[in-house]
Symmetry: C2
Subunit: 421 residues, 2 copies
Amino acid sequence: MRLVMKFGGTSVADIERMHNVANHIAREVAAGHEVAVVVSAMAGETNRLVNLTRRAQITDKHEYDVVVAAGEQVSIGLLAGILQSKGIAARSWLGWQVAVHTSDAHSAARIRSIDAGRLQTELAAKRVAIVAGFQGVSGGVSGGVSGEDEAMRVSTLGRGGSDTSAVALAAALAADRCDIYTDVDGVYTTDPNMVPQAKRLAQISYEEMLEMASLGARVLHTRSVELAMAHHVPLLVRSSFASPAEDDIIGTLICDEDDIMEHEIVSGIAYAQNEAKITLLGVDDKPGIAARIFGPLAQGHVNVDMIVQNISPDSKKTDITFTVSQDELTRALEVIKAHEKDLGIGSVNTAENMAKVSIIGVGMRSHAGVAQKMFDELGAENINIHVISTSEIKVSVLIDADYAELAVRRLHAAYGLDAPA
Amino acid sequence: MRLVMKFGGTSVADIERMHNVANHIAREVAAGHEVAVVVSAMAGETNRLVNLTRRAQITDKHEYDVVVAAGEQVSIGLLAGILQSKGIAARSWLGWQVAVHTSDAHSAARIRSIDAGRLQTELAAKRVAIVAGFQGVSGGVSGGVSGEDEAMRVSTLGRGGSDTSAVALAAALAADRCDIYTDVDGVYTTDPNMVPQAKRLAQISYEEMLEMASLGARVLHTRSVELAMAHHVPLLVRSSFASPAEDDIIGTLICDEDDIMEHEIVSGIAYAQNEAKITLLGVDDKPGIAARIFGPLAQGHVNVDMIVQNISPDSKKTDITFTVSQDELTRALEVIKAHEKDLGIGSVNTAENMAKVSIIGVGMRSHAGVAQKMFDELGAENINIHVISTSEIKVSVLIDADYAELAVRRLHAAYGLDAPA
């Protein structure tokens, strides 16, 4: 089997933890697998480097990338050295050595392609490739008038980009699986801090995982899940703090929907607190009005989530309700105030301290009455629903934040997600 | 004019000092010069990284180099960003980007060649090139059966290698001068801490500078001076702490002997304390005996300095005297003891607390009586000479350490080196 293993900053925070990581790798090598490893910078190191660029007031993203990419360079060298000391053949690979080609959007670059040739040779020779996460190179395309390569510059993928590095590498190497080692042992049906009965999911589809992102259990970067989905790379989320000797796979496998034998109707309950609701009353009911409202909000960097428009056929006015994060409420209201007359807004209502609760599951597609059950359960608890929004595999409701915990617990039990006592 | 400017770790120890460095660079750019800059890691950073490799018990020099080269990556990015913030076009260059090709002797690699093409273009476009010192790449030679490049690995030149990087870059770019910014404002006729009358030399030849290395004023790495001599790169040693507004060149120019108009007979007085003398009495006087004594000492990593052999034509025995650093005396005696019978050594005398005092000057070549004057001056102070050794441009004597300061002061005055009162 060919494996990509990814370890984040807390997993390689010091030499002792790197030894633990090396033992995880040693287990997979001993099992006869071909192994490539993607590593983040040691915990705290990227922050230190970013701080230096701030104090130096660096504005050139190219130079920012040169500075912050140094963190991964240190961790890959150390980890390769530690593996060698355990008698395991290994070498470090920087972004330009692989090479990982990215876009020119320095500090938030996107991976365009990965030259897999050299690493293929390494893996075939049973040498572990320790690859720097988060970094690549822009430029470097052959051709042009001079026939010379365009100069390659160090680029980075933005914070948390190591997950994306790992998935992209797994796709390029046609790896059988990409194991993401993290500080939790998998993806849960809901936040275990809120619901002690929450269970670890053995499997979950990419689509569900993407909807779960708002769960607050930010186990994986959305971008890396999207990339895994596009390239059909099975992702295994597992704990780096578990004993490396343990080779039973404990974790959550994120994979194609078709690879999951039996679907629960609802796989998990997500929630987001600190939401605010804005209602624009008496808005001119004209074509294009939504675009004229939400355009300025987007330009003002306000993230709008749920949107509901009440259609009133008997009037030339309509009401539009939407939600934003509570942090962005003031900014949103400023933007609206600036466009108030222009948009013919009658008045504005706001409500704070709201929470969004969502049920997520691909099984919903083939089952009727799933949403109705949700409304019934909340009604039975006398919880008022302010806004409803639905997608193919998710139903979200906006409720008073005070009832969020009660709602999540009730729904978790109602959809049969509670772990056996 | 085309300039290479080199700044060491203390000059870029923090963001504030980097601003000072940027002002030095800005002055040269404003003067219309083409400027390439070589920078070390921020003070303390290389030590921190080396410590990490020790704690990780890294033995692979390739991985050691990957880790320690990260320090320069941070400083070039920061300095390039700071220059940009002052409105000066600049970009950073890593070893592999230039590229600086080195030997495979990782952690102590030697520069083989530097591709100057890209930097030439940069300089012609009046963009300051900020180049990482101390690092390069091994491998990367085109050809071979596959037609593919051999993989390039990050290499480092060993501690203090940034001076060598700067001189090699100046040679590759055919720079008019290489300015080495340091924490002293030049090379002095002798240690100013010992002799307050010591003067800064305006000029000194490469040969003299190499002999001065033992002065304890370790201003420049020997290797970089040798390289500058081989490629005729004029080196200017100057202070990075001087006001960057000051554009009068205050410093010491190290250049070809022929470029110095008027030579002093003696340019400087060097001294080395903590020397020990070893005399082997009654050694078999046979061909090859010296090699048989000093071979084992070299293998035992004992650095032998002055060597004197008394030829005694009337006997089959001879006496051999040599000096070593006091730190290495015990080790040297252990080596000798192990080979005592083998070499037919009669007995061994040792003397500690010795000092070596040297007069240095290319003018000696054309002037007679320079050494005699030295012996006369020391004799007048009743200073006993234990060993004498001479080269074309240096006369060294071994004396009791107690008289070292007196000897240096007397000789400094006698050869007319004292600054006017």
